[in-house]
Symmetry: C2
Subunit: 99 residues, 2 copies
């Protein structure tokens, strides 16, 4: 237990709304805004605000398709790495409580 | 993934400092204030504030031993149950990202 470093819980990721977005994006290559909105039942404003925070942190990027006229969000390599480290702490928490 | 209910992430528990306290208390029967302080490297004020929030939520209780002159903190049955539910969501997040 004393080995769990809770400071490693990335603040940007740990917030509930952003954690749900990261989980969605980590489990699939990319998702459109409408896709995310439908899956998360978040208001446009809320979702936009969380996407911006994650983009500012370098965790996700948006690509625009002119043909399909939609923006797709996906994790950046560093976002994926940050999320992997985050998940490692979650695993340690679960392991500690089972010990 | 769509089956993960992120609203089940208890707000009181999810905060990083309180999550570390809950993890410590779940992995052992009870801990003194000094015990918690040493394990978590938190200031007295910070730790007291988090303990109060968790106590208000009914997640932990404190018992005072007159002989040993110290207060011991431990999870309440409902606190243990709330933490179990919280951990279930963490497990779902981990499972979703591995799928």
């Amino acid at each position: 237990m004393s080995s769990i470093d809770f400071t490693k819980l990335d603040k940007t990721i740990h917030e509930k709304g952003r954690l749900s977005i990261m989980t969605l994006l980590a489990s699939r290559r990319g998702r459109s805004f409408q896709d995310l909105k439908a899956a998360l039942a978040m208001s446009d404003g809320n979702l936009i605000s969380h996407l911006r925070s994650l983009e500012s942190a370098g965790h996700l990027s948006a690509s625009k398709s002119i043909e399909q006229r939609k923006t797709t969000y996906h994790l950046t390599p560093s976002g994926r790495e940050a999320f992997t480290h985050y998940l490692e702490v979650l695993e340690q928490i679960i392991a500690a409580t089972r010990a």
